[in-house]
Amino acid sequence: MGFEDWAAEPINWVFLAVALATTVSGLRVVTSPNVVHAALFLVAALAGTAAIFLLLAAEFLAWVLVLVYIGAVIVLFLFGIMITRAPTGRDEAEVDHGRRLPAVLVSTALFILLLWGLVSQWGDTTLDSVTAGTPTSVLAEGLLGRFVFPFEVVGFVLLAALVGGITIARRDLSPAEEKERESR
């Protein structure tokens, strides 16, 4: 499949746009000095991911991503940012530490390696038959059928995280503080 053929498919242009947006947002997530901005860029990146899912005809998953991530997780993040008074200014020294070069090197190298691997493994394998979306019922049957046990386990993990989160983050008052609160 040459570039001509590829460019002939309109859906690919859609992909290109979405991918570009996602990449830029992702880049800003890791470079923005402002935590709030970073979080919002993550929203964008995730939205882009959801769009990609749509392109791949995984509608259910796309909506899950939007609802769970953009709806819930990001809100959680914003809470965290507010409570911990994360830096929201423009001072880059605040958010990154100086050792940026090794990180760049490492991640670039990783990317090159991955790229090499992907190209040599998949070449130009096409994804032609992506037309009909996956019915949600298939996922439902999978989750409650064959994967019901992991499903329950994950549910348990969520519960544990819930309880754990509360336990960890709850402030244990010292006896003195306790008394003070009672007297108030």
Partner: protein, 678 residues
Amino acid sequence: MGVSASPHLAAESAAAVATTGGIFSEWAGLMLIGPILAFLVIVLFGKRMRHQGAEVAIGAMAFNLVWSSALLLLNMGDSGVLYERSLEIASVGGGLVFELGWIVDGLSIMMYWVVAAVGLAVFIYAHGYMKGEVRVTFFFAALSLFAGSMLVLVGSPNLVQLIIGWEGVGLASYLLIGHHWELKENSSAAMKAFYTNKVADVGLVIGVIIIGITLGSFHFWDLASAAAEHSAALGPVAVAAGLLLFFGAMGKSAQFPLHIWLPDAMAGPTPVSALMHAATMVTAGIYLMARTFPLYQELATAARPWMIAAGTVTLFGMGLLALVADDIKRVLAYSTVSQLGYMMTAVAAGGYTAGLFHLFTHAFFKALLFLGAGSVIHAVHSNNMSDMGGLRRHMPDTYRTFVMGALALAGVFPLSGFWSKDEILATLGYEGYTVVMWIAVAGAFVTAFYMARAVALTFFGEFRGHGEPHESPPIMTRPLWALAVPAVLAGVVNIPGLKLPWIGNFTSWLSVRSVPMGDHHAEAIDLGLAAAGLAAAVAGLWLGWVAFGPPAADRTDRDRVEVPVLYPLLRQKYYLDHAALGLVWVIRQPAARAVNWVNDYVIDGVVNGVGALCQRLAGLLYGGVDQHGIDGVVHGLSWGTSGMGGMIRRIQSGRVQQYAGLLVAGLLLLAVVVLFVL
């Protein structure tokens, strides 16, 4: 000297009818277990007993005396007892089996009886001697263990059990010599005894291993028959095995130069010395040589000259040391060493009966002498003869019995020592070791000389110590008299050519063996040799009396004949202690320290160095990659110089991101290696 015309093995033809000994043999193991059991009982419950456990120990010994007397009686006369019983305690593969058991034959019956008889006398004596001492309970426990281990040793039908008893004896001697361990010199003496023996045990153990593997059996009787048949397997290693066993025996039986522990062992309470010198410890080596006699007689003949050499040096050289000692117990100790030299020489020269007979008589008079010395020490509260003198009047019982013992030891006719020493001289002459024989005669002279000196300095002249010495209580003097009887009379049982009715003689007691072995014993007295021996003894006594008897005994500078080179040499005990201490020092100090240094600085140095190197490498890598960070340079420098702690801190920096970075980098590296290199 009545030279037997019969060849070596002819002695066996006289062997009487062997019986199994019935119930006494079948349960003879009780004698081995009894004292050990007594040891356990005393350790666990002794403190609560009326006599602090002494009654248990004495009871076990009395039982043994009765039982072994029964066996002895059965063995007398024309019928000998022969019985063996082994219980397997482990099979270890390769056809080898470890067993425990007991053996009943002439040799072991004699030893059972000697241990029981001397042991009982000493135990009873000790009950009086130790009154008011510290740790009496433990003392009797250890005494029981001492006797018990010796019985395990002499009752052993195989070499492995022999080792068990052998080292058990060593352990008990360690406990007893160091009885007053509050003083460092006592505990050091105990250590020295145990340690010297342990050195010798290396020989024993290796010898046993060689025999055991070669024969596929540890049984003495298998060894004896293999030797008698001139076994082709055993032949090539026989000399090595024989010499190694002899090396082990040198430790226990205090042969030159491994005798150094014995005089120091006088640090123990006197009853211990008596037991050790008479019955339970130093005789073990002689017993071992006798038990493995066929090996030396038939196969390891090349080992015999060496053994005779060691024995001869011991019998003469160690006797000389007794001349200059001031401590009465040391005089006796050196005399023991010298007498052991006689026994060893005799056995090595082929005089199986002669050596054992001397062991037999020596057990009585040496126990007697030690107990007498203990009685004296008890009275004057000093070991040194310079604090004694004139005790003849204060301690008549002790005096009389001591003199009997001294005369017996000196070999004066017709006391027991005369007969046994004469038999040794006769054997040496018969076997052709004429030079050795004359050295032994000279040794007899020396023996008589130092005994005369000891008696004169202790019992004659004026009392030089402090206080008013008293005769010991009856509980101590009665054992003296009890021992004096055999010390005087024991010679009767083996007068050459005389075979008593009912009793037979010592030779016939020992003649029942499963395997015939060559052994010479005289059929009649060689008057010339006997006269020479007696003359030497009398001359020694006379000279000793002249030099040290009254009035000379009262002079303070007793050792006025200080032969220039010889005297210091003797006073310093041939400098052997210095040599041994030097060797120990080399092991303890430079060698041990060097090893420790190697451990801490070389091996660990490599380990720590690798650690530091990794850390430095990590520092370099990280610092090199990280060109912007100041941290990198600063820390890189500090990594290079800080210690192990620094290294740990570096790698375990706790910085999650550093971990993650290294993780990813490592992953990358791995991927590259897997993809491109492999």
